[in-house]
């Protein structure tokens, strides 16, 4: 069974600063990896995904993530954050062929301060 560890439960940053949200996973088989974002009082929406190919993937709103198979990591980065990026971010993993059941991390609350 797969598992996901998000290493920081809260990350406060100032506007226009860079940010990295860390995610490590464990699985015995090939995986798909995802980052979802949840704005206050809303459902989750897909930010970006890694399925195969290039290990650097770009998503919406200027976010990107890098898949590192040897370190089993999928860290999310943005070079310059905005107030509107304040949200909770979830890393998720799915074993290839698992009927697309996602296992989510516990989330990282990103707070962008002026």
């Amino acid at each position: 069974a797969q598992s996901v560890t998000q290493l920081d439960s809260q990350v406060p940053v100032f506007e226009e600063a860079p940010v990295e949200l860390r995610c490590n996973y464990s699985s015995s088989v090939s995986v798909y990896l995802f980052w979802y974002v949840q704005y206050p009082n809303q459902g989750l929406q897909l930010l970006l995904k890694y399925l195969s190919g290039s290990t650097l993937v770009k998503g919406i709103n200027g976010f990107e993530a890098e898949f590192n198979k040897s370190q089993t990591s999928f860290h999310l980065r943005k070079p310059s954050v905005h107030i509107s990026d304040t949200a909770e971010y979830f890393c998720a993993v799915s074993d290839v062929g698992s009927n697309y059941k996602l296992t989510f991390g516990k989330g990282t609350l990103l707070t962008v301060n002026p």
Binding site: F34, N41, G43, L44, K49, F90, Y100, F104, K106
Partner: protein, 117 residues
């Protein structure tokens, strides 16, 4: 442009009462899921369905039942509510093995907040 719709959005129950949460999707997706979200716990899968008439247990199925009588609907039932079931419940759907733009991308509803007193 409805996507995934959950009803009700809010509900307060007393211990021992029963209720049903309804999830409806208009994207013709094969797979549907029920998750619960609790502070500091992330999302945990309760039950899921890979097609009309099928259901399967997820990570935390105890105390819940589900039914998928129609492809577009996925019902989550609580037969005898307990305070431990106080949570925000999210329904999601995905195209499943039929593909879609992103294999494994889930489309979420806005959530149903349940309080059990």
């Amino acid at each position: 442009n409805a996507g995934v719709t959950q009803t009700p959005k809010f509900r307060v129950l007393k211990t021992g009462q029963s209720m049903t949460l309804l999830c409806a999707q208009d994207m013709n997706h094969e797979y549907m899921y029920w998750y619960r979200q609790d502070p500091g716990m992330g999302l945990r899968l309760i039950h899921y369905s890979v097609g009309e008439g099928t259901t399967a247990k997820g990570e935390v199925p105890d105390g819940y039942n589900v039914s998928r009588l129609k492809k577009q609907n996925f019902l989550l039932g609580l037969e005898s509510a307990a305070p431990s079931q106080t949570s925000v419940y999210f329904c999601a759907s995905s195209p499943g093995l039929a593909g879609g733009p992103v294999p494994g991308e889930l489309f979420f509803g806005e959530g149903s907040r349940l309080t059990v007193l």
